[in-house]
Symmetry: C2
Subunit: 688 residues, 2 copies
């Protein structure tokens, strides 16, 4: 889509490394330092400005076939280089991403009878480290089955952690904030009774992205990048010395990954910052992913959409047909299209359009949907044409119910059906136990599947938003049509019968789940008491209305849903217009004072027209934010349109308390804005 600016600096240092047992590589500014030591075991450690953040941590693998360990190595050689380049994403938080690192590649060979060659590659950035294992093609070792990856992250201290419990099938948990010593995964897992399918691992397992904070004030973020043909890495916590150990999600027979040489693992990503904002600003995970074939994806277009979905969640309508309340009927969908057209919203998602919802969930049933048969009251062709006549497009819904074999064998037909009906975006869903039976949402086979769907969709110029998939690892850099995923507890869970989301949840998501990639969080709820259609419900959306608007800026995504019913959105036409106007692609983004479980504030400048947006969200605390407009261009005057919580706004007591005001500002001026308990603000800053 855009040019990539490259400025490569190669500082190749060829060490005579045979026999050498210690290697060091520092980030370009020298502050992050990685030390590799090869004594009995090969270890790495990471320091920042002389502060050891990762104590010597072992590396390696246990293989199930051949049945050997890759743990004791001799170093055959090493190479070091520096790369300084930048690139332009097809969409994103900034138009130019700096990719500046020093790389150390160790060529290793096992000391055991079976001489297996493995390369260990570290990329050291000023804001962190990425490392992975490469398996070069070699004599006598080609196909192998990983029993476990033995990568450690040895913290050595009882950091504060923002975590969700380890699970092979779901990441839809509320975040916990505790010391590592207080992690209780099974209890945390058991609390969440509203998640469809759970496979807890044990009592000391957490998922990534994992946000840690040291007592000395360091923010450490552990995740992975470029997960394409490998299981998700979960982390087992050893509380004796606060070591986190990789624990890969197994397949049906207990194997972890089937690999062959000429490949590599995903990158293990570590972001290090002395400030929380440094975590939010980091592009390290994207940088560790491969570039896209830009021309091939030139048709990818950011968009906003509404959907026939929430009315089923709140009990107004149903997915299934025979209830008498079938929501996806032609007349009703036309109303959504009319609403979208009125406000310039690009897409209308329709769930429940296809046959199968009468018996779709919970029975590990393979034949559920065929993805090409609409219910009799859903005139898809007519609706698609009606939408297009109004500059709107339908968005397809493919709920697989976890029956992925069924989806794969029907995928070609399903995508062709979309093309035939002029639909170019699909929301996929994986609610249910996976078929192939014994596979998990996070196992290698499923991670291959998600990419398979992305690639097949791209062949037909179709964009994908996935739900209940494994959490992202920056892959939308490589496959830009894989626009966003859910892969966390999203706004939808406000409708869970037992308990919804806490106000702090979103402030933690920004530091954790969102570092992997855009989330289909579905903000945009303007009506918060969810018992309107079903008096038995007690849950509500724990947010102010201003915060809902703020999320469209705070949570970056190239595809964003206004989640609420049109009749609820219609009560605030100006706010809808304001939200629709928010760009989906940015020239630059700067995170202002933020903290996980506190607040997140960001200033973004639109790529298209240079308009600035600043937005913030808060947790359960009311907060005042002083904004400093020094980022504005000097000599110009700007109009600020601010939407913030009213003085008496409160996520529970008065969620709709909002005030909207306009004023002029000049660069260098300051402004105080208010965030209520569970609230937020958003402002648009245009040049006058």
């Amino acid at each position: 889509m855009k040019k990539v600016f490259l400025s490569l600096v190669f500082t190749a240092v060829f060490l005579a490394s045979f026999g050498q047992q210690k290697f060091q590589v520092s980030s370009p500014n020298g502050q992050v330092q990685v030390t590799l030591s090869n004594q009995e075991r090969l270890t790495y450690s990471i320091s920042h400005q002389e502060n050891v953040l990762f104590q010597p941590s072992t590396l390696g693998f246990s293989l199930n076939r051949p049945e050997i360990d890759l743990t004791e190595f001799e170093v055959l050689g090493s190479e070091e280089k520096e790369v300084n380049q930048s690139w332009t994403p097809i969409y994103g938080e900034r138009s130019k991403i700096k990719d500046h690192y020093r790389e150390l590649r160790l060529r290793l060979q096992t000391k055991t009878q079976a001489k297996v060659q493995v390369n260990l590659v570290f990329k050291v950035y000023d804001d962190g480290v990425g490392f992975r294992y490469e398996f070069p093609e070699q004599e006598g070792f080609k196909h192998f089955i990983v029993g476990e990856e033995l990568t450690e992250f040895k913290m050595g201290a009882d950091h504060s952690a923002f975590w969700i419990p380890g699970d092979y099938d779901t990441n839809e948990f509320l975040y916990k904030t505790t010391r590592l010593s207080e992690v209780k995964s099974l209890a945390a897992n058991a609390e969440e009774i509203d998640i469809a399918v759970k496979s807890p691992i044990g009592d000391n397992f957490v998922q990534t992205p994992l946000q840690l904070v040291t007592d000395s004030g360091y923010y450490i973020h552990i995740h992975e990048a470029a997960l394409v043909n490998y299981p998700v890495m979960q982390l087992e916590l050893d509380k004796a010395d606060y070591t986190l150990k990789s624990h890969l999600v197994p397949d049906a027979v207990g194997n972890k990954a089937y690999l062959q040489t000429g490949t590599s693992t995903p990158w293990r990503s570590i972001i290090i910052s002395k400030t929380p904002e440094g975590i939010l600003a980091s592009d390290l995970i994207l940088n560790l992913n491969d570039p896209a074939q830009e021309e091939y994806y030139s048709w990818v277009t950011p968009q906003k959409f509404i959907g026939v979905w929430w009315e089923m969640h709140v009990g107004k309508g149903t997915w299934e047909y025979a209830s008498g309340k079938h929501a996806a009927n032609t007349a009703n969908v036309k109303k959504y299209i009319d609403f979208a057209a009125k406000y310039g919203i690009e897409g209308v998602l329709v769930e429940g359009w296809n046959e199968g919802w009468e018996d779709w969930f919970g029975n590990w049933k393979e034949e559920v949907f065929d993805f090409v048969t609409p219910y009799p009251d859903y005139a898809i062709k007519e609706l698609s044409e009606y939408a297009r006549s109004k500059n709107v497009r339908l968005i397809m819904h493919h709920e697989t119910s976890g029956s992925v074999t069924n989806y794969e064998r029907r995928l070609e037909d399903a995508l062709d059906f979309m093309v035939a009906n002029d639909i170019n975006t699909v929301k996929t869903g994986y609610v249910g136990k996976i078929i192939p039976r014994g596979e998990h949402h996070d196992s290698q086979w499923m991670n291959r599947h998600y990419v398979h769907v992305g690639k097949k969709a791209a062949e037909k110029k179709i964009m994908v938003v996935s739900h209940e998939s494994s959490r992202p690892t920056g892959l939308n850099r490589t496959y830009p049509n894989m626009m966003a995923s859910e892969a966390a507890r999203g706004n939808e869970f406000n409708n869970a019968p037992t308990f919804g989301l806490t106000p702090e949840h979103e402030t933690i998501l920004a530091f954790t789940r969102l570092k992997g990639g855009p989330m289909d969080y579905t903000p945009g709820f303007f009506d918060f008491k969810l018992n309107r259609f079903d008096a038995s419900r007690t849950t509500q959306v724990n947010t102010t209305i201003s915060k809902q608007a703020a999320l469209f800026v705070v949570f970056y995504s190239p595809i964003q849903m206004l989640g609420d019913l049109p009749e609820n959105l219609e009560k605030y036409p100006d706010l809808v217009r304001f939200i629709v106007d928010i760009p989906l692609d940015w020239e630059e983004s700067t995170y202002l004072k933020s903290a996980p479980g506190g607040q997140v504030v960001v200033a973004r400048k639109a790529k298209e027209n240079g308009v600035w947006y600043v937005a913030g969200i808060s947790d359960e605390q009311a907060r005042e934010v002083e904004l400093d407009f020094s980022f504005l261009e000097k000599g110009k005057t700007y109009t600020v349109h601010l939407i913030q919580d009213s003085k008496d706004a409160h996520y529970d007591l008065n969620p709709t308390g909002m005030e909207s005001k306009s004023s002029s500002v000049k660069p260098g001026q300051k402004m105080k804005v208010r965030m209520a308990q569970g609230g937020g603000f958003v402002m648009k800053i245009s040049q006058e």
Copy 2:
């Protein structure tokens, strides 16, 4: 294809069966009698002419979900009826198949808290019994997971058995002939070191079709019919009382079958005969299968073919490209086409035509073949056109290497590629451990797959021959384009490095494997010492040349391969012409004196022109067969063209010893023909 002649006789007897605990139903001629008794457990027993052949055997299920047993029932009602009809197969051993039985349906309900309704249906024929469980739609019970089917077959005596060891993944064993007490499954399984993937179950497990012979001279045959959405039934032998118990093949997580009400199990089939020929003549398994939609399958056409395959087996060529000996090259395949055209052979199978053979097997690798990419030296379009110009068609080869997920997601493209290249028959293969990993060749998911492929192929008017699939259960009645399968140790195993086939093997196959459906046995070898291209080989085809010809008549299949190399076939041009001339569809078939492990002799009359063929095969013994031509039409004179073993023929010492002679016969005359050790004969009897 043909009309179905129906003459239904309904003798509906509605018994006031509530409270009744004993039910009897007899075959139309009264000789086979089934008694159902509902005491503590529900049991069935079977007698023939007052001789109890199946002692009271229990019935039922253990479910994994809901976690209940379906073992103790009350009888809600029963219905009995008699059906007497006949039908015409699209192809087969006879043009009109009699289907005459009495049926008893017991409507059962479990006595336990969870009241589950199950129907038990027995069809009692003069030559045996079929029974199955039906799960009617009902309140409160819909989806369920079978943990085990608890069907017993209680023999109560130490019968002689023709058996292969139980295994979840293969049926490619040589048959053993022992008493039931001497069954040693694990040892038998371990002997067969040439089978690619084996999953033995235990030491007392055998497969079906299982042929038993009682000391009183009864032939009892146990198998199943209409297996479409269920695992293969293997049998566990309890040597205490010689009870065979159903043991279903599990999936990756140990479940057996995922079902929902409105369905039924496959039929459990029992053929009973006082003569071995009665087993061979029985149509019971076909009768238990559902009829085909005849019009839909009107394009299905029996055919003979040769193949580029054996040259790879014997080391003349290779499947893979880079060897310098790639067999599937355009020039070589043209020679096969020329040979086929010269002799009027309809098809030429080409293995090794597509990319992937360099690394295709043994590593549980998912991405192997794409089924649409020929090697550079294989001009598929040109060859297909060349073949068609000579009235020959190419036959496609889809080796999946067990990676069935890969095959399913590419199936549509693969079949479309066939259509685009004017190819209407495919040989599929499943050499390797199954993916989805943890599934087995014989598990429910795979049985669904085989039918899925058959149905998808039928949509494109494609015929299927499958290898390494689960053994057939008469399904080619319902899906006639699923022409034949291997699913046993076929002629190909003569090339196994350690040991090939014994002469007796084929005489047992006729009684076991072949009762389930046509086999792609690939007879037609004229060259028996297999070290011509590879001096290290010691194996050979243990057969005489006459027997190879005889197999085309003895083993009924609508699709038959002449297995050998054209240059070997070309040495016997008259014999090739004789074989090519053998019909693939018959008006009638009569099995003459036969015995498993002895000899099999059959007389068949061609549907097209009334020409008779008689053929026989022998085991390791030399035999003389006296044929009685009383089946010929009186008042006519016939010419017999006989091909038999020469006096000094012998499967090892002189396999090519053959004599061919013509003579006249009249109805009622007799003729003695010779079968050498491991030999056979075949004759054509045409009206003068």
